[in-house]
Amino acid sequence: MAASTEALATPSKPRVLGWGRLPAVLRYSVVAAVLVVFWHLYAVHKGPLVMATPRQAVEAVWDGWKDGSLAHSTWTTLRLLFEGIGIGIAIAALLVAFATLSKFGADVLAFLTAVLNPLPGVAVLPLAMLIFGLNETAILFVLANATIWPLAIAVSTGFKTTNQTLVSVGRNVGLRRVRIITDVLAPAALPYAVTGLKTAWAFGWRTIIAAELVFGVAGAKGGLGNYINDARLNLLPPKMFAALLMIAGLGVLFETLFNLLERHTVVRWGMKTS
């Protein structure tokens, strides 16, 4: 009896000492505070024509949001980004379906991804400007190009690594070519597709900000990249930092959304461990 009680007694948990013992919120707050202090000291040192202090940056976000200029720029960038990635997803899906249904399609996809994926998205911007002019179509073209290839590679890898037994089950219950793709291969490739989407999103962000910087120089209006460039021209570092804060904040927000999407799909289905 005594022995069994002893066996069930709660063992003492190994103690973590020092920094690791503090709650995560506190730890990250301290890290953030230290960085803000350094930022502030550096800004004071450099002067208001080059650097904004953290306080000025936050105030610039507030002001920019209140007068609508920052909100408008953010919306312009996000809208273009969504449209560009949307076009990229649609074309990537068609390409992968085509590649799955025919050997010729597979060769076309393999060749295009090999050549175009290593190409940084902004590299085709001058070409797009020549073809489409200084307008949104040029940006959409560059964005689509930046997102199609990482997505297509991810999804086609997902298709290729799909468990063949599942495909056999699909055929056995009566699915034919196109429905094998939509009902078996596509959901089975979802873990890869979400990873591809994250990569496409990251590429898209970098590409659109860079493209807007170039467009800002070229004289067109709108977008966060343009907002940054305007702030530089007008010697207004706080506005520049406001846009940077927005970009970083949105990056964190979308990373969180992608993680939520994963948790409610592939993690929930046991297709990927969290």
Binding site: N163, T165, L166, S168, V169, R171, N172, V173, G174, L175, R179, D183, V184, P187, A188, L190, T265, R268, W269, G270, M271
Partner: protein
Amino acid sequence: MDEVAIGTAVRTAGDTGTALVRVDGVRLGYWVGDAFHTAVGHATFDVRPREKMIVIGPSGCGKSTLLKAIAGFIAPVGGSITVSGRKTLAPGPDRAVVFQEFDQLFPWRTVIDNVAYPLRVNGRSRRSAKETAREFLELTHLGHAADRYPHQLSGGMKQRVAIARALALEPTVLLMDEPFGALDAITRQRLQAELNRIVDQTNVTVMFVTHSIEEALVLGDRVVVLGNAPSSVLEIVDLRDLGGPETVEYSRMRGHLRALLAVDEEDALDEEESLGGID
């Protein structure tokens, strides 16, 4: 190729009706580079309505390949396969398959949706598919797990879902490709007993591939014994009047099957000594 009836009498009424599946002089194999490797050299046998036909043979004899050919995944290079009088070409739900792999369930669908989905594919309404799915989950004692996802199930439960899914399609013949092969011994025995009960309740015709003599004896009405590749049918054994595992004839039959499979293996090893037949 002869049918050997061991036991007291051959059952007569009702069980010699027209063949549901007819395998006639079938030759099957696969390409290794430019060389064709024959697995099944020449196989001829029938599967009759409402029987459990076991296909047994040494590894590499093509028993799984044969089942895949009946399912329509592979075309025979010789002979013909007929199901319900039709020469089969494409895979279809009339020959529902239960595979060996646990990963045969769609991980993104719940248990009940895994069973209901094939019915939806075949034109059933959402409600009627769910109703039937629930019915067959009850039959396989899985009603409590209907809303779980496959990754939350044990291997044995996954195989039971796969059986429920296949049965719900009301197939002409249920094809089972070593479905219990990857299970532990205790679960395997439990599922064998459960399969016997389910088959009795549903009157489904089963073709079951295994390499286990015990499994063949526990489940089978008849057993097709295949030899080494390129294989042919060594014998078709009737088990319908076989007594329980405690009887003499049961152990005799086990010895007979062992001898059939072992003798053939010895042949393959080019050994002269024969192990002989029964006793």
